[in-house]
Point group: C2
Chain length 282, copies 2
């Protein structure tokens, strides 16, 4: 199938990327889509280091704007999570121009702060899904290949399987969503299927953040919640007594939010793509 040659720009809104990741991702893209991807450009900012961050707030904001506002680039692919997107998201979004709206934005975890703010600003090309740094996971090439299949050809098999024509969807990491509620980054999620996933958090913290999320009046207007995978949960002392699905069901019941079952997302190689908003028509 002939098609447009895609140009993809990568920046790191939080923590820096290992240069090996860039080489591996470019090699995989060349193998999978030699005739469909013109370039995956890792912005030099990806490899900067400033304390915890991939460059200071201004450097991360400027790299984001350089890619997002470039009319020649088709997709902005967040390179890695970690932490830091919330520190520059508001300033970054304030600097966007018209060219930024005609573009796909793909990432998850910490990058959810930017996806949230972009969704609030009315952007339509947003998706929660694998990032370049996932290539370092066990089986990570499948995750990165899935992201590429979404970016290049909107492959249906890349999509989270519960997505339906009925309702708009979004997906977030639990902590990231919790920490942006009430801030200028919070989008209106009324009527949405909200998919939530977590990694490396104690069960009591998952419970506490779900209290926070499900007690929020805006969140109580969602169509329902689907629970993605909660992985690498450190052992609770004593045992928490409930697993993540019991905890989620508890808070859905307490808040009157519908629990819709599980979602095929998480911090792992199986992480499927969730486009934000109403499902695309075929």
């Amino acid at each position: 199938m002939p098609g447009k040659m895609l140009k993809i720009g990568v920046m790191a809104p939080g923590s820096p990327i290992d240069p090996k990741v860039a080489d591996q991702v470019k090699a995989l893209a060349q193998r999978l889509y030699p005739d469909r991807i013109a370039e995956i450009r890792f912005h030099p900012q990806c490899f900067l280091s400033s304390g915890h961050f991939a460059g200071d707030d201004a450097a991360r904001r400027d790299a984001f704007l350089e890619i997002a506002n470039d009319p020649d680039i088709d997709a902005l692919w967040f390179g890695r999570g970690g932490y830091g997107a919330c520190r520059m998201a508001e300033a970054a979004i304030a600097g966007l121009t018209a060219a930024a709206r005609d573009k796909t934005y793909l990432g998850y975890s910490d990058a959810g702060s930017l996806l949230a703010g972009l969704y609030k600003a009315g952007f339509t090309g947003l998706a929660h899904g694998p990032m370049p740094a996932d290539i370092a996971r066990e089986g990570g090439a499948a995750a990165v290949g899935r992201a590429l299949s979404y970016l290049v050809e909107r492959a249906p098999e890349a999509l989270e399987p519960s997505l339906s024509a009925g309702a708009p969807a979004v997906a977030f990491n639990i902590m990231i969503l919790s920490q942006l509620l009430g801030t200028p980054l919070e989008p209106d999620l009324g009527g949405h299927v909200l998919m939530l996933e977590e990694v490396s958090e104690y069960m009591y913290r998952i419970d506490r953040s779900l209290f926070h999320i499900t007690s929020n009046p805006g969140i109580r207007r969602v169509a329902g919640i689907r629970l993605g995978r909660c992985s690498a949960i450190p052992p609770n002392e004593p045992d928490f007594g409930q697993d993540e699905e019991q905890v989620m069901r508890h808070w859905c019941q307490a808040s009157g939010i519908r629990f819709l079952g599980r979602a095929d997302i998480g911090h792992d190689a199986g992480n499927k793509v969730v486009p934000f908003g109403p499902p695309a028509t075929a």
Copy 2:
């Protein structure tokens, strides 16, 4: 100085208490205030265990209500933090009667969820300060003695020293406050000096929660923020590059909130008492 013999009731809104703590605290009170404290009653709920919690949500709610609604008891002293107060706070506060308003409530950490909801409900006898479980800390007898001196005689030297006649104050743990913003427990803190402390959180999480807190429109109406101690911060990989005061100053500057300096509170034996609201007149 003769005075009323005080009756103090203790319950555990989150995690359970070691029975040894009760014995040690009662012995200390007997030594310090033999003529001023009639009884420190540890509710049997303090020693229950239900997974993570000191009894299930209903048991913790009921113990809270039994003490709070008892006109014969002068003070409800939260026994320990941990986690769990937010799970029962709304139901607990809904069950309070008139007798509950004429009472002192003292605690901190996880108990902040209840203090917040009680403050929202117009209670005037609330204070952030040491709890019985602090007796197990190094130097903990001083912390518990300070709490008793506040409960028994409102000792001025028990109070956080920056408290002034000028402005009402409140104090919270950073994570606890973050996780109750936007929920039915959130009080109006407009015009207040907000004191914040933290323990055992990575610096990047402190940074993220301060983004959340200082971006909240209600919090932006405080008179200013004072930073208590942030202790037992796990090492960040790589080094975060900023300490807690730099992080707090960053977010105060970004949000337009006044940074007022440090507060003498924290998860330690030096933790001073912060009565909620306007300072008491002498």
